[in-house]
Symmetry: D2
Subunit: 354 residues, 4 copies
């Protein structure tokens, strides 16, 4: 493999997903010899550069991460360094504000925030986004591609702006998409998605909720009937709000999502048919591991870039449970972003993710 | 308070629920001055007595537990010591075998196992119980009372044999009973119970599943469509198998159950009506704490004897989520057993449980 | 037991130790029928009363805690309600400022902060305390009694101001005091105290250190050669700084302290002599559990009011390890405060703590 | 890189260290295209082959691990497949019995057990090893090299048998070796090593000690004055038993070791001198990360192949604390074994470990 003519940059490398993204990019076989540029979040910069390993000590020793610095952001660095892809691991307000400028600079953008994932304004309302130039933003929104390779790999390959999916949304959409496509679900019955996530999903800012004393030895539900990722489920799966309930819970573990999805099938179905439906759908998707009737556990997928799927079918052949597990920081964020980068550059989807 | 003419005995005090039961009985204000008799499980006895605090060091110093011994079981001790209530914290096979003999000895029994909870043989089949005298067993079964005080306090008070409910079953039944009584649930839609339990629910025997390396930093589903407690839900709530899905998950915490129960209501309902339905039902139930529209967390109920209940209602007034939390070793086992003892003796239900 | 003529008040009930103190006082058999007054921290008050169970949901249902309110602080409440003992669960600056005024009001004070524990100004310097009236403060300091009942129960009984010990300090002092009294330690060799504490010891304020993602699956040392509790060890054990190293570590558990104390004995000693030394010293100390050559584990003492002690002696008879375990919020804070209150009122030391 | 003429085999791949070893070897850049042979433990074999991912589901998708099988052990496979290095991740009895036969087959062996680490019979006694041919075993023992590359890289390169060090021993030896070499330690004072390890160190067999209910929310000390790794410290550091105390504790985390090492220096020393001593010693050791006066945390090294070292020096310039952190399954086992393989084959020490 020769070093490619590509240069990447990461904005907002200080968070948990940012750290994973840095790790993956520093190890990516196609980017060897060309470390990404790392920029801090504007509010954290204070005009000084810091070592990447000061922010994330666990990265020390990783392919020369010790000498990598995080710089204060400078627009002119993009042109000088011939950056062609920018990853935004920034808060959604900032991603919304910066994407128009970045696109004007001619770079392609993979945004890890929720800012550009939702086409419908009613779904986007929960983010309270404000656009400087609403018409331009709407035009950019129309061109944005939802960065779930298993559904949209061809559009992603051509996109200027990839909206990297939410972690919960990735797990639920991958659990349901094959059944939706084959119109197997009795939607009148309603789909129930009982999802559980590790604490890293709540972000790095210390809060009462992420305090060890609250998060450890506990389980709580939150954002019931009102979670931000719900809109992604509706738009990507072609559902209406009444068709699906999505309930997130906070697990006392650092990482990982486990979504238990309850479905009523239109008609009596065999386990073999379910198995074939999923195998068929994901035949060319290297980042999905299909377990069949063996249910995945959260531990199997944590610290991997895979989404694991398995199912159990009641003896009536109609009541189906699909379990989806993934690492919220990897397939739910950083690995998916790298998977999208691979598509943008025409590399194998799983490159650097095994 | 004067010391009562009552003497209790606990069989199988070596497990987690046994330890909690010992602690509660040693502190019970109506049993002061008269420590229960503690017997080991037959297979653990080896004919020797051991100090209770050797089995459970955390009990040392508790109202003289230091001098309490666990004895090899002897039938004649029941009569000599005038035992009038026996708690069985024994495996279900053993409880099934011993109850007939204990009843013949004239003692009342509170059985914490699943041996006598289920009236219907099809539901009981999962326990693979074998009766020495099937006719006698069937007769005893007819007289057994399901020991959920919130549903059956009057029958419990008069019972010879109380079948203490399963931990999961307690949480789900208490979440649903008020809605069932008022016929508010659209059963055709199906009830989904996504339940999560701490590791103590899996028992004290070391297994691959309870190994720290498997249980920690993990979540897994188990006994999907096939958990033993399902029969209790059906019989106590008057449901059929097709009406309800119950899925247990293993949480990486020591104790506590969190059941998220998804219901479709028959008709558009207001939060106030839901609130009134539950308040009304549990008005005289001291061991249920009603949270209304604030959702309980597992941490609030762990190490208490309460079942905590709260709800969230979708804006359509029909999709309802009820959350039930309790400590699987207390309201899910030992505290409920003591609550049942209080009823047997005519004491206030919450005595010794606050 | 009849309701006593005593009324207590707790300032700063919002923290972890405050919650435990509230729980213990609400259950204290000598205080039945007379709930303590609870006051918030001034900076949290905002002039409104809140339910105690809003601050600490897990207290709901505890002896009527549901109707107990936390009031904005008012000095005149002390006289009107005839408060005779005040517990301060406030930051040390606040405790330092309030104690002079409280003593002027004629109430006795049990201060859980570090403000009044240290006689020597050099040891106190680490708290950066400022006194409005230094001479008065110095006089109060002289009269303050270090509230470790196992060492000072007689002085505590007569004290106006009890300085409740630090959690780490309690564990280390109790591990060493019997050996110090019998002059068994070779001080020239140096004592090593390797102490480990659960996260509640770091307080309720969310910080990067107490974030679940940092505290879970981790261990770190902190305040090496520089921890605030060191001065307590020196003063209470009559040691000099060079005699002892105290290193705290942050454990990934909610509660509990485990101190491993390494000692070189002056001369060859038998296990029986060590055993006798400790048994003798703690013969009349109900809140110390002596394990002898069986080492305690942190789990045995968590959620109890005991300090557990055990030892291992090398075959050379000179190298000794003493292990001390306790719950940092109980014997390390709230239970010790109640133990001190019992002494102030002439009640049995262990009353309400079993 | 071209595929090398080397073929490796792993015996006993079913444990935690075995899984890590499999993962590292499957990803090793010099072994691409030539997967190791994997053999089960004899007692687990039952004569059937199983998929590696059935034993370790988290390996699925790793460089074709899905098609890798674990075979029943057959001696003739070694010759047929031209295996030149065998890793033993087997119990020490088995390693002791097999090594003579393996060496006779002309393969080089890296043994991860404690069977061949100790030259002195008194130190080895704790393993209760029995040799079929004691003289031959003694001769093999003399030729065995202790596989700590930072101390013995040249001998390892030439060794037939590498005895991979214990996890605890690695951390303590690396913390002390630089100070020992420069004769800086006042041994008369005694070295205290207070070590803490995650639960994977206790192995995969379910026991009361590794049960989640015992290991979680707990800390305990074990094998006090009597741990198997003590002999390695004595032999490798040239110490006598009286010079050092080593106390292991069981941490409630899956992986990671944190050793707090207390040293009295011979004379007053500056932090700069300590810093230089370690930098100098580890200048050419790529798998040691030196933190200087910043203390490492267990989290920084977990899931890396590094040993992290840092120190704190008291203001007296004589009392020194060195902290060593590593992942017990990696630098404490599997990564160290790969590091040794790299030396055997003349590859860069860190190859496949970054």
């Amino acid at each position: 493999m020769t070093s490619p003519p590509h240069q990447t940059a990461v904005f907002g490398v200080s968070g948990y997903a940012g750290a994973e993204l840095a790790r993956l990019l520093l190890h990516h076989p196609r980017l060897r010899g060309r470390a990404p540029l790392f920029f801090g979040r504007p509010e954290e910069e204070k005009g000084t550069r810091v070592a990447l390993t000061d922010l994330h000590p666990q990265l020390a020793g990783n392919n020369g991460a010790g000498s990598v610095t995080v710089e204060p952001f400078r627009w002119d660095a993009l042109g000088k360094q011939k950056v062609d892809v920018v990853f935004l691991a920034t808060p959604h307000e900032q991603s919304r504000a910066w994407v128009p400028k970045l696109l004007q600079h001619g770079v392609r953008v993979i945004d890890l925030s929720g800012a550009w994932r939702l086409d419908e304004e009613t779904n986007r309302a929960i983010y309270k986004l404000e656009d400087h130039d609403p018409a331009a933003a709407e035009s950019i929104q129309q061109g944005a591609v939802y960065g779930l390779p298993e559904l949209h790999r061809e559009q992603i390959a051509k996109a200027k702006l990839v909206a990297n999916p939410g972690c919960y949304a990735t797990s639920v959409i991958l659990a349901l998409a094959p059944l939706i496509r084959e119109k197997r679900i009795d939607l009148g019955h309603g789909i129930v998605c009982d999802a559980k996530s590790g604490v890293s999903g709540a972000g790095k800012t210390p809060t009462a909720k992420t305090h060890f004393m609250h998060a450890a030895d506990n389980l709580s539900a939150y954002s019931v009937f009102n979670h931000r990722h719900t809109g992604e489920l509706l738009e990507q799966l072609g559902l209406q709000a009444k068709d699906i309930i999505f309930t997130p819970h906070l697990l006392p573990i650092p990482r990982g999502i486990f979504s238990t999805v309850y479905i009523k099938l239109q008609q009596r179905t065999t386990p073999e048919e379910i198995d074939a439906c999923f195998r068929n759908f994901y035949a060319d998707s290297p980042m999905v591991r299909w377990y069949g009737t063996r249910l995945p556990e959260i531990q199997f997928s944590v610290r991997t870039s895979y989404c694991d799927l398995g199912f159990a079918l009641a003896s009536d052949g109609q009541r189906l449970i699909v379990v989806a597990c993934l690492d919220n920081l990897l397939k739910g964020a950083a690995s998916q972003a790298v998977q999208n980068m691979n598509l943008l550059f025409g590399w194998p989807e799983q490159e650097g993710l095994a």
